[in-house]
């Protein structure tokens, strides 16, 4: 049984212009000890997926309108809030993109880590503080006992992200959801943070869901990958399946449009023409139809069903066999 199983999840938001469906019937699962990547461009619904799992959708606008999120066999979407609070931060930890907004500027680092430990364990304050120092040390913060008394603004971006990771991992969760954990950081710092998450994962045997727009980060850190476009999953499979044999035109287009150090300088990069459709006026058929070089009449008529290419590799496209 997978640790986390998301099936047919639908998340909707009430806006001034009406109801929008940010996540539309997505299904995927994360196995114990594995890293699952969710990749897609801005507005594709990857962060909303994470917030739906954690039940942290902005209230009262956002709500889960269908589907289930099974975590260790328990459906999180119907769990009473009091029980959900015991899951958050304890069994599922979360790391956000911008560490400055994720940390409270008026509390010391130490207090913010100890808070999680005190909330979920029957610890004395002294023990919680002592353990906080150990965790800070574990995430690679130099002189942790001094840093305990400092405030977030006194730390660099990379150090702050280490603190956020320390908070997320304080209670040794079984699942870590990291939403663009390195996007705001420089490459050399990004490398440090990804390495840290990998090391801690191996040490604690936890599963990780890594949300990013960077296919390079996915290729280097994940075993499984889910590609999202305009609220739907267009392709999923192992990283080898998806990168070696990309079967959805969007995945192909995405992979072809990244300049790497190997592409000849000033050569024409391949592009995906056009833009993502707005969530308010989604087309009736395939959502990628207006940008797809392989689109045919049928693609605009109905939503392509999920088709199995091989064991774990699935694609949502009418024409995957032909391209």
């Amino acid at each position: 049984m997978p640790l986390l199983e998301v099936s047919n999840l639908i998340t909707e938001f009430d806006t001034d212009e009406g109801r929008v469906r940010a996540v539309d019937q997505i299904s995927f699962s994360a196995n114990t000890g594995e890293t699952l990547g969710i990749v897609g461009e801005s507005g594709c619904g990857k962060s909303v997926t994470a917030l739906s799992i954690m039940r942290l959708l902005p209230q009262p606008m956002g709500k889960i309108a269908g589907g289930s999120v099974l975590f260790q066999g328990v459906d999180l979407t119907t769990l009473p809030l009091s029980k959900m609070e015991k899951v958050r931060g304890n069994e599922i930890g979360m790391v956000f993109q911008e560490p400055m907004t994720a940390l409270n500027p008026v509390h010391t680092i130490g207090k913010q880590i100890a808070e999680v430990l005190l909330l979920h364990n029957d610890y004395s304050t002294q023990r919680a503080l002592k353990e906080s120092v150990d965790i800070l040390d574990r995430v690679g913060i130099p002189s942790p006992d001094i840093r305990m008394g400092e405030y977030p603004h006194q730390l660099s971006g990379g150090m702050r992200q280490r603190v956020v990771i320390a908070i997320a991992l304080a209670c040794k969760p079984k699942l870590l959801i990291a939403d663009e954990p390195t996007t705001a950081l420089d490459v050399t710092i990004q490398a440090q943070i990804l390495e840290l998450i990998k090391d801690l994962q191996a040490e604690m045997g936890m599963s990780v869901i890594l949300i990013t727009h960077d296919l390079g980060v996915i290729a280097e850190t994940c075993e499984q990958v889910v590609v999202m476009y305009a609220g739907k999953i267009v392709e999923k499979g192992s990283v080898f399946d998806v990168f070696d044999n990309p079967s959805h035109p969007y995945t192909r287009g995405l992979l072809a449009s990244i300049p790497t150090l190997e592409t000849p300088p000033k050569s024409k990069l391949s592009v995906i023409d056009g833009m993502v459709p707005g969530l308010m006026d989604l087309p009736p058929g395939c959502r990628f139809e207006n940008r797809c070089p392989y689109a045919r009449h049928a693609c605009g008529q109905s939503v392509p069903p999920i088709q199995v290419i091989e064991a774990q590799h699935e694609v949502s496209c009418f024409r995957w066999r032909d391209i």
Binding site: E41, V187, T188, A191, A219, F243, P265, K266, M275
Partner: protein, 323 residues
């Protein structure tokens, strides 16, 4: 490419005073740019790469004379423009233009696109109303936006389209040099490749020279003829793009290249992760600025700042190592 450079920067320094205490006395300086020399030829792209806070944007702003540099000189087509003021600068404003990172912040939200694109002509007193309108339509066509955009406001456009507007404005007056300050960093990958293609096409069409500032080495290598790597206000290595990638010599350049995630799951090489953060430019380390993070640090590096020296044809490195 002619031999006479279009832009020559000599030993440029930009030290910002840091005011402290209740008397706001200046005791320290933020040495954002600390002795940089570089040249750009006609039709050439010089890529400038470095992590946040290394001074790359400050350098760009000094060249456009948005900042008054502390010392050093800037020659444009052989003429010293370092100390020009007011009206004397106007002709150079036409020749040196800039594209900013965030098009939403660099376009006036209360002006229509037509007004935004017409403004450069008005400032430079070029043409009458009718000919200016014609020019605006031509510009829109050049950057691939529909003519009806003139009466719309920036918020009605997507990020990629807004960047096209920013590019249209920068090329309005037929400049010779365009400073591109992280022009694609805020864009999604599929849009990023569209903008890079556009910049390369425009360069060919108008024989533009670019100073292309970015933190993404893969993007910079794609568009640049030569690359300069910056660290804490200094250039540590500069060479042809291909050389930087195939034969990087400075330990910082090497770790920067090794830190880039590659979108290929088969390449599971152990990264060379450099530890530590970028030190503050207010209080930079003694000797070589990179020595606290350098994996190959020697005793000498701690006291003696290395000079930029030529190690091969057009390949400059600032390092004490025997390269």
């Amino acid at each position: 490419m002619s031999d006479k450079p279009i832009l020559e920067v000599r030993d440029l320094k930009m030290h910002f005073p840091v005011k402290e205490g209740i008397l706001l006395r200046t005791n320290k300086f933020n040495k954002a740019v600390d002795g940089i020399s570089l040249t750009i030829h006609r039709g050439e792209t010089l890529g400038l790469v470095g992590e946040s806070g290394c001074g790359k944007s400050t350098l760009g702003r000094c060249i456009t004379r948005l900042y008054q540099p502390t010392s050093g000189s800037i020659y444009f087509e052989g003429q010293d423009i370092t100390h020009l003021k007011g009206n004397a600068l106007l002709p150079f404003r036409k020749d040196i233009q800039m594209i900013f990172q965030d098009p939403m912040e660099s376009l006036n939200a209360r002006h229509t696109v037509g007004d935004i694109l017409e403004e450069p002509f008005i400032v430079q007193k070029i043409g009458d109303r009718i000919s200016r309108k014609k020019q605006v339509l031509k510009l829109l066509d050049t950057v691939g936006l529909p003519a009806r955009s003139t009466s719309r406001y920036p918020f009605e456009f997507s990020g990629g389209q807004r960047q096209r507007i920013g590019i249209a404005r920068s090329i309005a007056l037929n400049p010779k040099l365009v400073i591109c300050d992280e022009p694609v960093s805020a864009l999604d990958v599929s849009i990023q490749s569209q903008i890079l293609n556009l910049l390369i096409d425009l360069q060919k069409e108008f024989n533009l020279s670019y100073l292309f500032i970015a933190h993404d080495l893969a993007v910079v290598k794609h568009i640049s003829d030569r690359i300069a790597i910056m660290y804490l206000g200094k250039v540590v290595e500069s060479a042809a793009g291909e050389t930087i990638y195939r034969k990087p010599l400075h330990p910082y350049t090497r770790s920067l290249i090794s830190a880039i995630p590659v979108p290929d799951p088969h390449r599971k090489v152990k990264r060379q992760v450099i530890s530590g953060d970028v030190p503050s430019p207010i209080d930079p380390p003694s000797g070589c600025p990179f020595h606290p993070r350098c994996p190959q640090v020697m005793d000498r590096c701690k006291h003696e700042p290395p000079q930029l020296r030529s190690v091969a044809d057009k390949h400059l490195v600032s390092c004490h190592l025997d390269l």
